[in-house]
């Protein structure tokens, strides 16, 4: 399989072959390396690259990982990973007209409560699925009349999570 990873604004193609449990071979810039890896802790993995040990500290997921190696820190993202919050610009004009999760998810946080005024595009809820967090935004300006899910709830696509009463004079927009 091939990854297209973004590091420091540049895309690096990384060719990976699985060689066995915890063993891969990785080709970058035409140079192939045998790699063994193991998980040491929640934020620590050990790599052995061509026999050389590398102690790695890491946080984040496919949409972006912060990787620390020997005092150097790197932000690496997978260009092809779905729904990369840090790389995808949310086009406010193309929002759906209800607040709902795109795929089955778990609610991470709720940013609004009943009676709150919200502006179009304002973050109202963060949901997490497949290790990725997605921010759900208000489709139009208005007033929150009900919040239908709380932190930790499992939610499904189509399930309206926040009911928002649209402003009558909401800049005349009709989504």
């Amino acid at each position: 399989m091939e990854y297209n990873l973004i590091l420091d604004g540049e895309t690096a193609p990384v060719e990976v072959e699985t060689e066995g449990e915890g063993k891969i071979s990785v080709t970058i810039d035409g140079v192939k390396s045998d790699v063994a890896y193991s998980v040491i802790g929640e934020h620590r993995i050990r790599l052995v690259i061509e026999g050389k040990a590398v102690d790695v500290f890491v946080t984040g997921d496919s949409s972006g990982k912060s990787i620390l190696i020997g005092g150097e820190s790197f932000l690496v993202a997978d260009k092809d990973a779905a729904g990369q919050p840090s790389f995808r610009k949310v086009a406010v004009g193309s929002l759906p007209d209800v607040v709902t999760a795109p795929i089955p998810s778990v609610v991470v946080s709720v940013a609004v409560s009943e009676g709150d005024r919200v502006d179009k595009g304002q973050a109202v809820m963060v949901v997490s699925a497949m290790k990725m967090e997605t921010t759900l935004r208000a489709p139009y300006s208005g007033t929150v009349i009900r919040v239908n899910a709380g932190e930790g709830d499992k939610v499904m696509p189509g399930h309206v999570l926040v009911d928002i009463e649209r402003d009558e004079d909401g800049e005349g927009e009709h989504v």
Binding site: M1, Y3, L5, L7, D8, A12, V14, V16, T18, G22, I24, V26, I28, S33, V35, Y37, S38, V39, E42, H43, I45, L47, I49, V54, V56, F57, V58, T59, G60, D61, S62, K65, S66, I67, L68, I69, G70, G71, E72, S73, F74, V76, D78, I103, P104, V106, A129, M130, K131, G152, K154
Partner: protein, 495 residues
């Protein structure tokens, strides 16, 4: 000795004071704002008093609230740390008036030394060399220009009440005086409420060297050698060391005597720091006295073995110094790196946020004065200092090697730190060669970018981390057990 003191500060310096107190059997009362409810200084103090909202003016800078906390806890003394109210003469006076001991110099000394012109006058009278220039405020441009002509350009226009680089102008010729004077004065007026400015000689290539002083209330005053603090960004020190590279026993003797003379001339009591400029010829000039415990005090503690915070408490409770000048010895070399949550790639902009994972380096000669932990949110409201990393080695080269190793072992995930920048500075020829002046960073590291030596390893680490499933092994939020959906268990499928 006091039974209980209140620590009117937060973060690593509050912890530093609390730790000294615990060793001395002194109880501690911490204060905290809403942003610091889960901060380490709160967790480690004997008791803690909430000050309220996070805004500094509503918490750590609020004299009334702190005085109230002192009364409530029955603390006999207040340690102000550094920053916040540490050099606020009004605060010190208020504490004195409440019949409580301020762990620092008398309020009148803070007031006098806080005014740069008054301080210059005191030092001149006390026989301490000051930079050529005025010892009275100079609002009249013609007079300032005449003075500038006399001392020779370039000159510096400075605010009398200044600090933090505000109200300062460098003037290269007589034609620029009027504009610079007006600019500095209005900036000083808005920053400090006092538009008084004066002119002094500017030394473009100078070292910033300071002396740690200790003075007791029985007339004893000594110095604890010097610290070299020329590595600065935005007029703030980020790497400090002791001894200084240029120091010779003869120069130390002369400057140390001047520092002690400065303490005596100003009636100083407790720990303080006398800052000097040292020019290329080795001539030195008084700059100012910092009437507080300095951020970089650990480098002095490392080479002298003297616990400065303990001394502060002893002096404040009326004890004698108990150390003579000839007892003070410096051993080896110490370096401190200040680690802020900031990004060296974008002009050291603060990058506050949640620390996802935190692991401090350890080993012989390694000291960390920190104030954070895994899961701690570095508040946006205050100085974003994460910690100070201090090392001690047999000599400068060994201390540098030890610092580079310790920085490499330091793990901070979640916020950006200047660790890669620090490593490159310490590795540079310029730093190793001791070519250190206050313009070091703009001169040698203006366009610094990370070398990304481990770029290939980082790419491999990304892939290995994806395949290992480490990220999905996160524990589920407490009390929220749930049946895993196929989306949790799918793993990382790729076609």
């Amino acid at each position: 000795m006091f039974k209980k003191i209140l620590v009117a500060n937060r973060g690593e310096i509050a912890r530093r004071v609390i730790h000294a107190c615990r060793e001395m059997g002194v109880e501690t009362a911490a204060v905290y704002s809403e942003a610091d409810e889960k901060a380490l200084h709160v967790l480690e103090a004997s008791e803690a008093v909430s000050l309220g909202p996070s805004e500094p003016s509503q918490s750590y800078l609020n004299i009334d609230k702190i005085v109230e906390a002192v009364k409530k806890t029955g603390a006999e003394a207040v340690h102000p740390g550094y920053g916040f109210l540490a050099e606020n003469a009004r605060f010190a006076k208020r504490i004195e008036e409440e019949g409580v001991v301020f762990i620092g110099p008398p309020s009148a000394v803070i007031r006098d030394l806080g005014d740069k012109i008054v301080a210059r006058r005191i030092m001149k009278d006390g026989g301490v060399p000051i930079t050529p220039g005025m010892i009275e405020p100079g609002p009249d441009p013609a007079r300032v220009a005449a003075e500038a002509d006399k001392i020779g350009y370039p000159v510096l226009i400075k605010a009398a009440a200044g600090g933090g680089g505000k109200g300062i102008r460098i003037v290269n010729s007589g034609g620029e005086i009027a504009d610079a004077l007006a600019g500095a004065s209005s900036e000083a007026k808005s920053a400090f409420g006092d538009g008084s400015v004066y002119v002094e000689k500017f030394f473009p290539k100078a070292r910033h060297i300071e002396f740690q002083i200790l003075a007791d209330s029985h007339g004893n005053a000594i110095h604890l050698w010097e610290r070299e603090c020329s590595i600065q960004r935005r007029h703030q020190k980020i790497i400090e060391e002791s001894p200084a590279n240029v120091m010779t026993p003869e120069l130390r003797e002369k400057m140390g005597q001047a520092a002690v003379a400065a303490a005596r001339a100003s009636g100083y009591v407790n720990a303080g720091t006398v800052e000097f400029l040292v020019d290329e010829k080795g001539d030195f000039y008084f700059l100012e006295v910092n009437t507080r415990l300095q951020v970089e005090h650990p480098v002095t503690e490392m080479i002298t073995g003297i616990d400065i915070v303990r001394k502060q408490l002893e002096i404040a409770s009326g004890e004698k110094l108990g150390i003579r000048q000839e007892d003070v010895m410096g051993r080896g070399h110490a370096i401190e790196c200040r680690l802020y949550a900031e990004d060296p790639r974008s002009d050291f902009m603060p990058s506050p946020g949640k620390i996802k994972y935190y692991k401090e380096p350890a080993g012989p000669g390694v000291r960390v004065d920190g104030g954070v932990y895994s899961g701690f949110e570095v508040p946006v409201d205050y100085d974003p200092i994460v910690s100070k990393l201090i090392v001690h080695g047999e000599d400068r080269d060994k201390a540098i090697a030890r610092m580079i190793k310790a920085l490499g072992d330091y793990v901070v995930l979640g916020v950006t730190t200047p660790i890669p920048f620090m490593i490159d500075v310490l590795n540079s020829e310029a730093f190793r060669g001791g070519d250190i002046f206050t313009d070091f960073i703009p001169r040698h590291f203006a366009d610094w970018k990370p070398a990304n030596r481990n770029k290939r390893e980082a790419l491999i680490a990304f892939v290995a981390d994806e395949l290992s499933g480490r990220a999905s092994k996160k524990p589920i939020a407490a009390g929220k057990s749930r049946v895993p959906s196929p989306f949790d268990t799918l793993g990382n499928w790729r076609l």
